[in-house]
């Protein structure tokens, strides 16, 4: 059973894709919430440098040494960026954009020069080869386990442990760094640990999705979740769900259209983000438009109540408090005044007396609350 699952390329590819998404979401959520998600872009580019250096030194293409060594390059990127910013010569965004292209360039050139016989060429650097993850296996407990599955599984577990054990601390440091510092936590150290894990995840995911597509998993999936909920735990859960969905849909579409699997998985995260952006229950564009319309209608009926109240009992009441006056004096369209009157009738704010629109006690209360707030 397990052996047949492990031997099934489609299952392996989708599992690795989902694991990349899940591991990336666990760390990416906090980066997105802190507003430092572009650091993940910088990190995922500059680990290319680290991977090449580690390979040149140890001739190891994967495994813990590779992950730790290359992950340190990610930290180096962040450190250099902060160094530039602290020199007060360069703004934060420009500093990010200066450091990672340099490291990435050196990495690519070293590849050009020395890597005639390595599995990583410049094409893989960018795109990864998730379609081939099931080819590169190691034997573990009698089973042939794909190397990528192993490293991604380990990184996912590590990230989950980190987030699970330090959930409260991470939450505090993300939303109120000043309070965290005052309480004696070290939000800076926590943040660096988070970035180290991000780099490690990027390295582990490198074979599968490459340097640039990894960014989609780190930033887009947590952003999608962020558009759907306000609760941190729920955000992580939604992120996991979106990761799995992107992986399965991406694989299916890619196979059908005969295109890059990793690229399609990353593109699917974008599709989910777009869906959340448009149809999110509270922050989606459609929900916002509906809320605005509700507000507008509410305003109309309140407006009507105030108008009627102002002229109630006055000599010109017969001329003002009729449907015609709404069109001629308030310059409302036929449609609008009709809607407002119907709404007010439904809500019991007014009643008809022939042509005259008469406020009820409730309607009078509404108008009074607007005109003289606080008078009870």
């Amino acid at each position: 059973m397990l052996a047949s699952l492990l031997g099934n390329p489609a299952v392996m590819i989708m599992t690795v894709g989902a694991l990349v998404g899940i591991a990336a979401t666990l760390v990416g959520t906090f980066l997105v919430l802190r507003g430092t998600s572009m650091l993940s872009d910088a990190i995922s580019h500059s680990i290319v440098f680290g991977i090449v250096i580690v390979w040149l030194l140890t001739h190891q293409q994967s495994g813990p040494v590779q992950i730790v060594g290359a992950a340190l390059t990610g930290i180096l990127t962040v450190f250099l960026t902060e160094l530039l910013v602290n020199s007060k010569r360069v703004k934060q965004d420009a500093a990010i954009g200066l450091v990672f292209p340099l490291l990435f360039s050196i990495g690519v050139l070293l590849l050009n020069l020395y890597a005639g016989n390595v599995h990583i060429d410049t094409h893989t650097v960018l795109l990864g080869e998730i379609g081939f993850v099931w080819l590169d296996t190691v034997t573990l407990g009698g089973y042939e386990v794909p190397q990528s599955l192993l490293s991604m599984g380990a990184m996912t577990l590590l990230n989950a442990l980190f987030v699970g054990l330090l959930f409260k601390e991470l939450k505090l440091a993300t939303f109120d760094a000043a309070l965290a510092r005052a309480l004696g936590f070290a939000p800076g150290v926590l943040f660096y640990a988070l970035l180290l894990l991000t780099s490690g995840t990027a390295v582990a995911a490198f074979d599968a999705v490459g340097a640039v597509l990894f960014v989609a998993f780190v930033i887009v999936i947590p952003s999608t979740a962020y558009l759907l909920t306000d609760r941190l735990a729920l955000m992580l859960a939604i992120g996991v769900a979106v990761s799995i969905a992107s992986s399965i849909c991406g694989y299916g579409l890619a196979v059908r259209l005969d295109v890059s699997i990793g690229g399609m998985m990353a593109a699917m995260t974008g599709v989910f983000l777009l869906l959340a952006f448009l149809f999110g229950p509270r922050y989606g564009l459609v929900a916002q438009a509906r809320e605005r319309r509700r507000q507008r209608h509410l305003n109309e009926s309140r407006n009507l109540a105030v108008h009627l109240y102002n002229h109630e009992g006055e000599p010109e009441q017969g001329e003002e408090n009729v449907a015609r006056a709404l069109r001629e004096h308030l310059l409302w369209s036929h449609e609008r005044s009709r809607r407002a009157i119907l709404q007010a009738l439904d809500a019991g704010h007014i009643q008809r007396q022939g042509e005259l629109l008469q406020l009820t006690a409730t309607g009078r209360e509404v108008a009074r609350e607007i005109l003289e707030p606080g008078r009870r």
Binding site: L98, P101, F104, S105, L109, V220, S223, Y226, F277
Partner: protein
């Protein structure tokens, strides 16, 4: 290969001209982007060019520069619009919006790229080179398109110079003057997409971000004036472009993009170190000189006090200025802050701590001499 042969080499001429064009446009437009704190927008726009390149290729059916550039410009503008929409109409912050647009459009580009490859089109060759750039593949006809785009962008900057300057430094004031600020910002953003389009062939979409940022950052170190910074930035961009492109053409097999980025990074590091007043080395030197001035003043006061046999001897400000041949007021004030001298109207005297410090300095100097 002698220099004359080198200069007559067709490929080399194309490469140098392409590098010059790229340096000019990215240097000029990058200055505005960096000053408006939109450096990473260049990163997003350059990655977003990839789907446009592929679409242009699919529509034209061949590797024709005009349609590829049009596609890149279109998708770049679309990406910029998407960033704007996401930041304005959702709760996502700018960094997330940039990251989203960058990564998803790149993913889309990768999908299209593999789609083209699966079509098994014979003319697809070289589409990969847009990832990292391949200067040697530049054709004369490509150069014409690149030159036209550069000329258009530079003319726009020249015509709207005053407006762009104001939008960069004080958009609020520009709005108060009745300038169409939003339109100007849109023009600046779209022009960054233009720079990316020119850089496609030379640097590739992945590293174009640095080409927008780095020359401007280097130039900014040398001058606070936009009139100086923009031409200087263009000069840095052109110099780095030519260096990188030459190395790439001569030593076959090296991608152009990374080489250009390394050259431009060298310019940035040198500028950060050496630029007058702002440079880090400059700062170290001036700190040293300030310390020397302080030491001189202390020992002068100390010697005067010794010569008069009065440890509370008061030296006049003008006398100190004349003795050192320069204004010493600010230096004296700083010494007073450190509690080494005390002030009585226009007179200065050493405190006890000051005498001690001066004696120490003299002792050290004598120790070094003997």
């Amino acid at each position: 290969m002698s220099l004359a042969v080198l200069l007559n080499d067709y490929t080399l001429q194309n490469v140098v001209m392409g590098a010059l064009l790229l340096g000019a446009i990215s240097g000029v437009l990058g200055s505005f982007a960096v000053l408006r704190k939109q450096s990473l927008l260049g990163d997003a726009l350059s990655h977003a060019a990839l789907p446009g390149v592929c679409l242009g290729f699919i529509i034209a059916g061949s590797r024709e520069m005009g349609s590829i550039m049009a596609g890149a410009l279109g998708s770049g503008a679309g990406a910029a619009l998407m960033v704007l929409l996401l930041t304005r109409y959702s709760r996502l912050k700018t960094d997330a919006a940039l990251g989203i647009v960058l990564s998803t459009s790149f993913a889309l580009g990768v999908v299209l790229l593999t789609f083209i490859q699966s079509m098994n089109n014979a003319s697809q060759g070289g589409l990969d080179s847009f990832l990292f750039g391949q200067a040697a593949a530049t054709l004369r006809s490509d150069l014409v398109v690149m030159a036209a785009v550069t000329a258009l962008a530079l003319t726009l900057v020249a015509l709207l110079w005053k407006e762009f300057k104001l939008v960069c430094f004080d958009p609020g004031f520009a709005r108060a003057l009745g300038m169409p600020v939003l339109l100007l910002e849109v023009i600046l953003t779209v022009m960054i997409a233009l720079a990316v389009v020119v850089g496609l062939q030379m640097v590739g979409v992945v590293l174009m971000a640095a080409m927008v940022i780095a020359p401007a950052v280097a130039a900014r170190q040398w001058s606070p004036r936009l009139e100086v910074m923009v031409p200087l930035s263009a000069a840095f961009g052109m110099a780095a472009g030519v260096c990188g492109a030459l190395v790439s053409t001569l030593g076959r097999g090296l991608a152009t993009g990374p080489l250009i980025i390394i050259s431009v990074s060298v310019f940035v590091i040198a500028s950060l170190m050496l630029a007058p007043r702002r440079g880090l080395l400059w700062e170290a030197v001036s700190r040293l000189r300030r310390r020397l001035r302080h030491q001189q003043l202390l020992t002068t006061l100390h010697r005067l006090a010794l010569a008069h046999g009065d440890s509370h001897f008061r030296s006049e400000q003008g006398l100190l200025d004349g003795y050192h041949g320069t204004h010493t007021r600010s230096a004296m004030k700083r010494l007073a802050q450190r509690g080494l001298v005390a002030r009585h109207e226009r007179y200065w005297m050493l405190t006890d701590a000051g005498h001690e410090e001066a004696a120490n300095i003299l002792a050290r100097m004598e120790g070094r001499v003997t």
